[in-house]
Structure formats: structure tokens, C-alpha cells
């Protein structure tokens, strides 16, 4: 057992911190969120240059063989800065699916561009009727000659508009809800029959509704084995949950610091509000909830890097705790900031909104509480 970060990891953290400090003053961030693209392509180029876009990919694919913990470190710092660049959808979600399921030819076609910063990805897995159930896939991929024809609608595809490639889950067999029969396809987003309706998200990001109408792809578009896509999706999304939980820990850390600082300077009734015991205890609870989340974050990341059988259960525990802590910390940070916490111009409300959206992604508290219980028995006795 070892809780220390490596020197490389400390350097990685420093470098992301420096990027955030130098490039993300909050007013600049808010202006960036209002632009068409919603993020800065200069920043993205810098990500490529710094090697961040190569981080989780294997050396064979031109990557750096980074671990889940490496990504965690990066995402935690992104969370503190409320950064807008689509690292998460392109590298973590899209990249995660590529790493796990793409053929050598697919990797060659896509990953060099991702690593160079010229190619964006999006994972189109959610559907309206399916809520958080990854197996509830109504989109179909019908075999047609040596290719497939896809039809269906994909919900809230993060980075869906900017994406050059879409990774789409579709049913090649089985009934809606079956674990078997879900396949993944790597599709050029300009393929005929794909309609993308883009929009902003509550937290300043970008997403799209993706409609597939008779989208014809070759057999090469299939990622991995036909019908075996669900396990891939689950693994990708477990890893993605660790990443956004890290982002949430970053956001909570920043909120706690801002709230404690504000409470020391804001005077009411002749006293800094940070001297009121009820608020002190609440800030202590915010601190404790953040620490507890960080503990589960480390636990899940380590478990995943070690390939332990309890990894998925640790991830669900982490998502539950992230949802609870994020809600509590976000709400209380706004409350303690009073009217100021309600303003668009202050960062506090934006952290709160991001934490709220993180709870809505990949299964909320209830969903992961059930999954946690269902996975009982996977935790090894120590």
C-alpha cells in the first residue's frame, strides 16, 4: 500500500495548475463559454503540445501509457479551474472506447489526430427512454451487405457538435434492454444521414442530440466484437466516472476555499460570518464531505489501475458520494455566499452548476446506490 504520488505525477499536477492559473481567470472563462465553440482552440493546441492529449493512450498508439490516477490528477485540476476544453468527451470518453475496442486500423485512422489535437471525439451512448441504463438501446444497426445501416436517436452527446468521429452504441441483436447485442460503431460525423442539433449545457459546455437516419457504414466501422459492446461501455463509463469525480473534487476544493475565504471577510452584525458557529460547523462538514469523496476517488482509481474485481463497486460508491457531497457543498457554498452566490459574475454558482450536472451524468445517486448493492460480494475481504 502506498498513498504517495510519483514525481511525474506531481509534475503533471504542477503543469495543469500552471495552465489554469495562467489561462483561466474567471471572467475570461465566462467569455469563452459564450463563444460559438465554447472552448479555446489555442488551449487545445497547448494540451496537445504538453502531451496531455496523449496521456491515457498506449505507447503503441503514440500515447504515454498513463494510468487512471494520472487522468484523475489532471481532471481534479481542471475541476478547480472550471475549464471548458472537451478533454473529458474526446480523450476520456471517446479515447476510452477507442483504447478498449478499436481495431488497429481504427486507431491508426483516429488516434494520431486526437493526440495532435486536430481530431475530436464524442461517445453517443445515451437514449431518452433508457435514462441511465446503458443496455436500453433502441438505436438499431441492421446488417446490410458487408456493412450496417443505423437508425435511432442519441441523447445529450457531449462534444457532439465538434466531434469529427462519433462512437455510437446500437443494437445488432436482441431486445431493448438486453445485455447482449449492443455493438459500438466508429462513424465519421459527416456521414450522410447523421443530424446533429447542438446546444449549450447548463455548465457552459456543449452537447448535441444526434439523429441517425439510414446511416450506412462499412463493416470496418464496427468496434470490437458485434454484440459485445455493453461491457466496453461499462468499463469506459466507470473510468469516466472516476474522471468527473476527480473534477468534482477539484470543484469542491475550490468552493470550500472560496467559502472559507469569503466568510472571513464578509461582516454581518459586526462580525465576520466565519465566526458564527453554525456556519463554521457547516464549513467543517463541507470539508469532511470533500475529504470523504477524495478518499473514495483514490480508492476507485487505485482499484481500477490494479484491475481489482471490486473496481466497479468502488466506482458506484464514488458516484454516490460525489453526488451527495457535490450537492451539499454546492448548495452550502451558494448559501454562505448569500446574494453574491446567486450571481452569474461570481464563480461560486458555476461550480455549483457543474456539480449538479455531474450528478446528472452517468447515473445519479439512486442509480449507483442500487448498482453498489447489486455488486455486493465483489469487495475482497482485506
Amino acid at each position: 500500500m502506498d498513498f504517495a504520488f510519483t514525481e511525474e505525477q506531481e509534475l503533471l499536477r504542477d503543469s495543469v495548475q500552471r495552465f489554469v492559473r495562467e489561462n483561466y481567470p474567471f471572467d475570461k472563462r465566462n467569455k469563452l463559454a459564450e463563444t460559438e465553440a465554447g472552448f479555446s482552440s489555442e488551449n487545445w493546441a497547448m494540451f496537445a503540445e504538453l502531451g496531455w492529449l496523449a496521456l491515457p493512450f498506449s505507447e503503441v498508439d503514440g500515447g504515454l501509457d498513463g494510468t487512471v490516477i494520472d487522468t484523475m490528477i489532471m481532471m481534479e485540476e481542471f475541476g478547480k479551474g472550471l475549464t471548458l476544453e472537451p478533454y473529458f468527451p474526446t480523450v476520456v470518453l471517446g479515447g476510452g472506447a477507442m483504447r478498449r475496442a478499436a481495431s488497429p486500423a481504427q486507431r491508426e485512422a483516429v488516434l494520431p489526430g486526437v493526440i495532435e489535437g486536430t481530431t475530436h471525439l464524442a461517445l453517443a451512448y445515451a437514449e431518452e427512454q433508457g435514462r441511465y441504463n446503458l443496455a436500453d438501446v433502441a438505436t438499431t444497426a441492421r446488417a446490410d451487405g458487408d456493412g450496417f445501416v443505423l437508425n435511432g436517436r442519441k441523447s445529450v452527446v457531449l462534444n457532439g457538435t465538434a466531434a469529427d468521429w462519433l462512437i455510437v452504441s446500437a443494437r445488432t441483436a436482441g431486445k431493448q434492454g438486453d445485455a447482449e447485442g449492443v455493438s459500438l460503431f466508429l462513424i465519421d460525423s459527416s456521414t450522410k444521414g447523421i443530424d446533429r442539433r447542438g446546444y449549450r449545457t447548463q455548465d457552459g459546455g456543449r452537447a448535441a442530440e444526434v439523429t441517425l437516419e439510414d446511416v450506412r457504414v462499412s463493416g470496418d466501422a464496427l468496434m470490437g466484437e458485434a454484440g459485445a459492446g455493453l461491457a466496453v461501455l461499462e468499463a469506459v463509463i466507470d473510468e469516466a466516472i472516476v474522471a468527473i469525480a476527480a473534477e468534482a473534487v477539484g470543484a469542491m476544493t475550490a468552493l470550500n476555499a472560496a467559502t472559507v475565504e469569503y466568510s472571513k471577510t464578509r461582516v454581518q452584525f459586526g462580525t465576520p460570518i466565519g465566526k458564527f458557529q453554525a456556519l463554521q460547523h457547516r464549513m467543517v462538514e463541507m470539508f469532511m464531505e470533500t475529504e470523504q469523496t477524495k478518499s473514495l476517488l483514490y480508492r476507485a482509481a487505485m482499484s481500477m489501475d490494479s484491475g481489482r474485481p471490486d473496481a466497479a463497486r468502488c466506482v458506484s460508491a464514488l458516484k454516490v458520494q460525489t453526488g451527495k457531497a457535490g450537492r451539499f457543498v454546492g448548495q452550502q457554498a451558494v448559501q454562505i455566499h448569500g446574494g453574491m452566490g446567486m450571481t452569474y459574475e461570481l464563480n461560486v454558482g458555476h461550480y455549483f452548476k457543474r456539480l449538479t450536472m455531474i450528478n446528472s451524468l452517468f447515473g445519479n445517486i439512486d442509480y449507483h446506490m442500487r448498482r453498489f448493492a447489486a455488486l455486493d460480494g465483489t469487495t475482497e475481504a482485506a
Binding site: 433508457g130 435514462r131 445529450v156 453554525a278 448559501q335 446574494g339
Partner: protein, 399 residues
């Protein structure tokens, strides 16, 4: 003890229901139902419709235009209003400045201001909070210095809700900096057209523009606009805050929102082959809020009954503020939960009436997160919930 309505009360309910269904402007109800924003004109028309029926001011004394209703009748009226999607009364004139004017104002002030409030001819806004003084109004800094027959007002008020529409503002101002903080405060009525007043919008986290900062730069206000005695503004404001608190429980609106949520949840799939309404976890969360609300409804009725026998609403009304806002917040949170992934899309154009943008995802979802973000304010304003707990600790528990 008896919770049944008398025949008379049932008749009253029917007449209220009939009015809302057949006489009141249906386009306004429709907008509320769809969740789109109301224009200033909508809000004024709504109030005028109530005034035309004599129902604009249920809480006012009869002599100034009140209805003389019993607590039960007020309860029925509020329930019917919420049920019919009639928007709540904009409170700044009707429930905030008017009680101060009819309680402490001069005969001239009553005659000059009350009829226009009752008939919604003049839009009022509130000037209490300041950048440096939130719930702690005693520390406010806006100064009013006497100069002949006028006060010269300088300072900044903030969180002024719907101040962008206002023709008049009522303010707490410091008229005497030499006495104890609470004693040097006076209550002034100020015409917003007076030279030196600037209104600047403040964007809130939900993206909306509801509150404002109001700046006073050498604003000259006639002395006759002082309400009551100089230096008593703090006393008047405290009474007003009690009024604000009783209204703030919002039981009828919350009941109506829960009804809507249930209807929506019955059509949203839970991803497990059932609807959200059939989803045990969602139902439990919903039941928790519903039970709290059923309790609060009776806490509210008990408080109303106590008022009828014992006079003014007491510090117990702080419970109504705390629990009422917690419930409102919890309900908006459930709408977000019900939205699943569709909590994410930010489509503010959906708040505009007549927008023909097609919804992203289920119809209600565009409103879910912004409302949730927006109502976080309710535990902050009107005396934060922490302040309310301080009040109960001191005034009720004697701590």
C-alpha cells in the same frame, strides 16, 4: 377540531374556481402552465383582474380594500390560485410597502399610494439590502441627509427584484449616523424617475435577469415621502419581514408543483421498463417531500388560526419560511432528478413566450435546472434561513 369545509366555504371555493376558470385572463394561466416568463404587462393584467373582482388584497384591512376573509377562506383562495396556474401576486407593492403605509403612513400617504397599489397602477420595488448588508439590515449605509424640505439620498441598494419595471421604490435609509445602528434608520418612498437613480441588472446563476442594483447619486426626495417617524424605519421593516415570512411558506404553490411533478413522472421512463412514478427510489424522494408539505400545510393553518385568535403572526412564522423554502427547493431538485440527462441542455429561449424552438428532450426539462438554480435564493432572501433560526432560538426558545 375539524378539517371539513362548511357548505359556505365550499360555495366560496366554487365561486373562486369559477372566476379563475371563466373570467381571469386565460392566456396568463396558459403561460404559467407552460413555464414561460411573464411580461410586465401580464403581471399587471393579472393583478388588475383580481382587483376588478375585489380580491387583490386578501390580507389588507377591509377599509383599504381588503377582503375580510377568514383564514380558511384565504387558504381556499391560495389553493385555487395555485391550482388554476394564476401567478402569485407581485409582493413588493401589495404585501410589502402597503402594510407599512396603512399601518404607519399618514392619511395623505394612504390616499395617495394605496389605491394605485390595489389596482396595480404603480409598480413598486424594494430597497432594503445593500452590497454590505444582506440579512443584517442594521448595518446599511445608504444615507439620507435632510436639506430643506428634501432628503438627499446617496448609496446603493441591491438584489432589487424586478426593479427594472418599477416606478417607485421603498427604501431603508440612514437618516442619523450618530445613534445606535438600528435607531438611525428611516423608511422612504422614492419615485424611480427622480434624477440620480440608476438601475443596473444583475444576472443570476440560472442565466436570468430578475434582480438589480439601484444606485442613488444625490437623489432629492421630498420630506413628505418619509413614512411614519424618522428613525423608526427598522421597527417598521421588522414588521414587514414578518408579513413576508407568512406568505413565503408557499404551501398551495408547492402542492400544485408536486401535482405537476407526479403527472410528468408518470410519463418519464426510468430506464428499467417502468415510469419514474413507478420507480421506488424516485417515489420515496417524492413522498419525503410530500409528507413534509402535508405537515407544513397544517403548520401554516395552525399559525393562521393562532393569528385569528391571538393577533399578529409571531416568531413561529419563521418555521414557515424555513420549511417552506426547503420544500420549494426540494421540489425543484426532483424535477432535475426526473430530467436525467436532459437536465443538461441550456435552452433559455424556451422561457420566451412564442418561441417556436423545438424542445430538447421532454418538454419540462428545459425549466428544471434553471428553476432549481434560481430558487436557491429563497433560503437567502427575506432574512436568510440562518437568521430565521436565530429568531426562533431567541424569541421562541428563549436562548
Amino acid at each position: 377540531m375539524d378539517m371539513e369545509f362548511s357548505a359556505e366555504q365550499q360555495n366560496f371555493r366554487d365561486s373562486v374556481r369559477d372566476f379563475f376558470e371563466n373570467t381571469y385572463p386565460s392566456d396568463i394561466r396558459d403561460k404559467v402552465r407552460r413555464g414561460v416568463s411573464l411580461s410586465k404587462d401580464d403581471m399587471v393584467r393579472s393583478q388588475k383582474a383580481l382587483a376588478s373582482r375585489g380580491w387583490a388584497a386578501p390580507n389588507w384591512p377591509v377599509e383599504y380594500g381588503g377582503t375580510g376573509w377568514s383564514p380558511t377562506e384565504k387558504y381556499i383562495f391560495e389553493n385555487e390560485m395555485a391550482r388554476a396556474d394564476v401567478p402569485p401576486v407581485v409582493p413588493f407593492g401589495m404585501s410589502m410597502v402597503a402594510p407599512i403605509i396603512y399601518s404607519f403612513g399618514s392619511k395623505e400617504q394612504k390616499e395617495r399610494y394605496l389605491p394605485d397599489i390595489l389596482n396595480s397602477n404603480v409598480w413598486w420595488c424594494q430597497g432594503f439590502s445593500e452590497p454590505g448588508a444582506g440579512s443584517d439590515l442594521a448595518s446599511l449605509r445608504t444615507k439620507a441627509v435632510r436639506d430643506g424640505d428634501s432628503y438627499i439620498v446617496n448609496g446603493t441598494k441591491t438584489w432589487t427584484t424586478l426593479g427594472q419595471y418599477a416606478e417607485w421604490i421603498f427604501c431603508l435609509v440612514r437618516t442619523d449616523p450618530t445613534v445606535k445602528p438600528q435607531e438611525g434608520i428611516s423608511f422612504l418612498l422614492i419615485d424611480m424617475k427622480t434624477k440620480g437613480i440608476t438601475v443596473s441588472p444583475i444576472q443570476t446563476i440560472d442565466g436570468g435577469f430578475e434582480v438589480n442594483e439601484v444606485n442613488f447619486d444625490d437623489v432629492r426626495v421630498p420630506v413628505e415621502n418619509l413614512v411614519g417617524e424618522e428613525g423608526k424605519g427598522w421597527t417598521y421593516a421588522k414588521k414587514l419581514l414578518t408579513h413576508e415570512r407568512t406568505g413565503i411558506a408557499g404551501v398551495a404553490r408547492s402542492k400544485h408543483q408536486i401535482g405537476k411533478l407526479k403527472k410528468i413522472a408518470s410519463s418519464i421512463p426510468n430506464g428499467g421498463g417502468a415510469t419514474m412514478m413507478e420507480d421506488d427510489d424516485f417515489r420515496r424522494r417524492l413522498s419525503e417531500v410530500e409528507i413534509e408539505l402535508m405537515a407544513l400545510e397544517f403548520t401554516d393553518l395552525r399559525a393562521l388560526a393562532a393569528v385569528q385568535t391571538g393577533g399578529a403572526p409571531g416568531p413561529e412564522s419563521s418555521i414557515l419560511k424555513i420549511k417552506g423554502t426547503e420544500i420549494q427547493q426540494a421540489i425543484t431538485e426532483l424535477f432535475v432528478e426526473a430530467s436525467g440527462y436532459y437536465a443538461l441542455p441550456y435552452t433559455p429561449e424556451r422561457f420566451d413566450d412564442g418561441s417556436n424552438v423545438e424542445p430538447v428532450g421532454p418538454d419540462f426539462a428545459a425549466f428544471a435546472a434553471p428553476r432549481y438554480f434560481n430558487v436557491r435564493k429563497t433560503s437567502i432572501y427575506g432574512g436568510s434561513n440562518e437568521i430565521q433560526k436565530n429568531i426562533i432560538a431567541k424569541a421562541v426558545l428563549g436562548l
